[in-house]
Amino acid sequence: MSETLPVSAIKNGTVIDHIAPGQALRIIHLLGLQNSTNKVTIGLHLPSKSMGSKDLIKIESRILSDAEANEIVVFSPAATINVIRDFEVQEKVRTRLPSSMKRVFLCPNSACITHSESVASYFYIAEDRKQIKLTCHYCEKSFDRDQVRVSI
């Protein structure tokens, strides 16, 4: 049986690989790709030697900003982001965890003011013992990344 993935190559754009399984759709929404005209290929639960299973996104004709690339790390710390030109990897994007994110997450604390006022959520982000921790700017509660739902 062929080992080749049934995913077409892109000429110019961005490939986000080694996404933690299940996170690709969140990243699609994070980047607003569901509403864009870019051609997008999504692979879910693809076999991976290093991860066992992974998601993958290929975006035709779009280069991510540094801020967009950094936000992807919050959803999938091991994700790799490559810029493609003429079917070749032109650049491996170096990412770092952003210090904060606005609007993306919903505070799990039901007593937080963000649930009763029309205010953009605002979380501080930090890595602690290989876990990504989010702290709400408003109610000051801290959560593991997996405890926090996304608003996208």
Binding site: N109, A111, C112, I113, E117, S118, D128, Y138, C139, K141
Partner: protein, 309 residues
Amino acid sequence: MAVNSLYKKSIVSAKDLSLEEWRLIVSTAQRFKAGKPTLSLKDKVIAHCFFESSTRTRLSFEAATLRLGGKVIGFTNSDDLSTQKGETLYDTMRVIAGYSDLIVIRHPLEGAAALSKEAASCPVINAGDGANQHPTQALLDLFAIQECQKDINGLSIALVGDLKYGRTIHSFTELCSLFDVRLYLVSPETLALPESVCDIMKKRGIRFSFHQSLEDVIPKVDVLYMTRIQQERFSRSEYQLVRDQFILTPGVLLKAKPHLKILHPLPRVNEISKEVDETPYAYYFEQAANAVPVRQALLSLILNENLGI
């Protein structure tokens, strides 16, 4: 001239305060306590926005304002406000900031003070936001400890009761990171200090340990900080059980250090028996009396750039 970094500063969380600011608040509060005020609130209007009931906090802020020649506007419950017509807290605070020089807010929702700070063009003091923070109570608690023990550094302090939902405790532990203290956390398992607060203490190097017996801890500590266990957190039978575990009587204090002082943010229900009031350990009423000079210090430092000394 000494720099007043509290000038025009909002106090939303205990972590907003530095050691230098703590020292400035203490020295200013001590002058007020000694009857040597150097700062005033003349011509200043302080808005007291209490969306939730309060006795001590509201009245001590009011007394502090009036004693310094300031004026108070505000409300003591939200029943008659435009928020009942659907106005947002953000809009309400923005409007009230136009009428006043400083806003003191208590609100049942966590983060309400942080949002008010964003909305208001004047400084905001958090007088309690849900189970989150009550930084001025923590300030006066530590001021009381400073007054009765002379130095906070090196002390062993037991925090007893509801450590999970007590906003005062959360602010107190954060403020403790300015000092070299050892904390004993005494509570029923279900009311233990939240993991996120413990994580902050670990990062800041505060030493602490968990306990479920008051008797085991009393001989080791210099300060016993009691809090109320709220009945609504338990079923009736569970409440009876945990309540009786954490009642302080003169008998429980037999092995206490001679200089031990007992603090309580008040109101108490039955966690400190009345007989303890007569022991040399009781300090909670003195602690409560410190509320006025500490809040005088805070209000006057936020609204006067020049320290006047």
